[in-house]
Amino acid sequence: MSRLFRSYAVLLIVCVTLNTFHMGVASSVPESSKYPINGPRLDEILCVYHATPEAAVAAIRKGDIDILSDIFRPSDVHVLSEDPNLNITFSQQTHYCYVAFNTRREPLNDKQFRKALAHLIPREEIASKLFEGIVVTPMLYETSPAFGRWHNPNVATYPYNPTRARQILSSGGYGWDRDGKLIGPDGKLLRKVSFISPTQEEAPTSYEIAKLTVEEMKKIGLDVYQEPVSFDSLLTRVLTERSFDIYFLCVSNLGKYPRWLYDYYHSSLDVPDGDNTPGVRDMELDRLLYTFRFESETEEEGERAVWRAQEVIADIAARVPVYSRYQIEAYRKGLEGMVEHRGVGYFTSGAFWTYLNLSRVGLPAGGKVKVDVGGRVRTLNPLYGSGAYEQKIITLIYDSLLASDPQTGEIVPYLAEGWKIQNLMVGKSKVQKITFKLARNVTWHDGEPLTSADIRFSMEYIKQNRVPAFISSIERVINVSDPDPYTLEVTMNGTSFFNLIDVGGIVIIPKHIWKDVSDWRTFQPDREPHPKVKGLTKMVGTGPFILAEEKPGEFWRLRANPNYFKRFPAVKTPVEGVGLEEWSLNLKTLSLIAIPILLVLIGYLMLRRRVSRRI
């Protein structure tokens, strides 16, 4: 037996030594490219999955991958920033964590009381103590500066200030008894208040943040206690049952526009499973948010409404921002052409322009990169895969009618070269007719031309099937027509500037593939072969990359679309070598020769042992 183990060990050593180690590439200084961009430049993007941050960090340091996003542990940031082969970037993102108060319950239904509590959140201490001052930034605004023009900096803020908190309480009629406990304006002791947080095991930092804040609240005499519950319980109590006093939670990927403000504060969303969890009901705020979301015909008009809405929201103090996490990304030196996307970062989901423009230093076209996909890719069905990780792949395969400037967020032409908007009256209703002119040189990955019939089909398909990910974008569409193959007319309810953004952002699917799909939910286009083109799947888009190979749960190989309508002017260069890997393969093949030899050797030794025993 022990001999067998020794043999296995020898075999392992042989296998191990026959594999090579790939270290980094030459370094360069990153440089933003000018916009608009033609691409893709790369020949291939290999998206790979690592289940733990330890594996992902080891992989990029080792050279197994070139790009890693969503780095959130201070220890990883330290290690990666000290690695001479890596560059590391910090970007503000549209993410925030907040403390929310249940405005339906006493004493939290008193605005003055909430404002006082808002001054008790030790943001700086949280950022420095729990995140070592590098992973997050303390946040005072509901709509962070990452929202550009939509961010109103002139709103009431609640920096940490216990003295100010006491002053607010005193002026609001609150007092303290001999033991220092808070007494309400009615002269009675305030009731015990609970602060729900995730458990220490499930979310240690959230637990600590709640603990620190609760301690501060206790210092001013509030009878408050921390109630750690499982994350699921927290969500159910907050989102569905509304059975809470105070809670702490984070949200990310808030998008380019502060549209969530409507969901978070409009009184119509104060219903079970609605996002207005604190129960805000304010008529002026309702009007402003409705104007912003559905009635503003121009961005300027929307901006005015949402700026005023932010002032009201800050004054209500139903949610108090605590911090926002940076998007921290690392990439191996030797890459250039990455583009910073406001509120998103350089490489993560939504950083479309980066992957169109990315190239190896000294190699304007060609080459390949390996990217950590970030998390579990659940499905590549473009109508269902709405998570950030699958979107990282899907957005490189499918295009939309419109795109947006990565810095300003301004809408720019894409599959639609141009558009015309007409505001009309139908009876007593305001409607908007948007006429899109499509680019004429766009083809699907299988060579079929893209026409307005495909776009009409996509919109009607989403509406008919009530596709959850897009239903809110398409529900105001009244009619779609395609008078000619390159013209599309969409009539929508209302005259909001979001109409264009909504229909311009939906995923466009090929009619010739999807018209035969029996059940859109279970359709897995990446796992079904294309009916006509060998080597392709039904994952057919018009995007810059084609799905060439996948092993679900492991990797997804995307090959540049040679017929892309915005293809980078062809510079014929060979695909960057994967020499070390090829060499590894050869060595692995060689190791196959070693195995039979070893097996024969083992057999010989065992036989000899048996023979000698008989003797």
Binding site: F231, V251, D275, S386, S591
Partner: protein
Amino acid sequence: MGFKAYFARRLINTVIVVFVTVTLQFFIFRIMPGNPLAHFISPNFPLESRRALMELWGLDKPVHEQFITYLSNLFTGKLGISFISQRYVIDEVLERLPNTILLMGSSTTLMIVLGIHLGVLAGSRRGSKTDVASVTFGLLTQGLPVFFLGLLLMLTFSYYLPVVTGGLINFPVAGTVSRPPPPDLPGYVMDVLWHLTLPMVTLVIISFGGYTLIVRSLMIDVMAQDYILTAKAKGLPERSIIYGHGLRSILPPISTMVGLSLSGIVGGAVITETIFSWHGIGRYLYEAVLQNDYPVMQGTFFLLSMVTIIANLVVDLIYGLLDPRIRY
């Protein structure tokens, strides 16, 4: 009672256990706090989208209708549609099952062989260096947290040693194959084995100690029996006494342990699969629990419970073969 009557009775018991298990699996997940919708708290999913999802998942229907749908899904073999991926659970399970069987099958086999071998050695040579070393090592490794050992091995063999040795020793950081894998079949097989090594070693190190300690204890009892003394008096070779007389008589309890570990072969190892990014059932189940993906939890637990129930049945039936004293 004859074998046929015994078999029939055990079969009826098994059917009852299956029905109770299936029913419990449905209701337990619905009693658990939280609902799948809560994971779409993201503002990108407004209320109308969440409601559309509830309809899509069938969660807007009464519980008794959901239960009937669940039963029909189980017994039509599809096991339902995952909320998260919208794929049939059986397809997702079958995609991962070979990886899990490879990892758990190889590690369980090695663990059993190594555990029994060391246990027998230690038990038959009580007080010797082999005994002390086996017990100490077995206790030590059994007490190690699997995440600690897994990360230690991964960082040592996949990161630090490759750096120190210039790539001479270089195990993969993640996955069941290289990304992309070698195009040729032999290369592919070698590549899978290369990726298998660290997670397999982790599981073996963590688990073999349990077998060693139990087998050692059983062997100590057996080696004190009269028939062993008789065998020694007859002058039988030590090897024959230990394996032919000692080990054989402790096979029934060992077979129970082996039978119970069969469900683990299908169920996977959550932490090890996660550390090594192994695309297996354990991680699948873990993610499903985190996201309240009822169809996946129900379908996977159904498969696991079926394997356990059947393994128990089989173990019960083969007891008689292993131990001639047992009569039905």
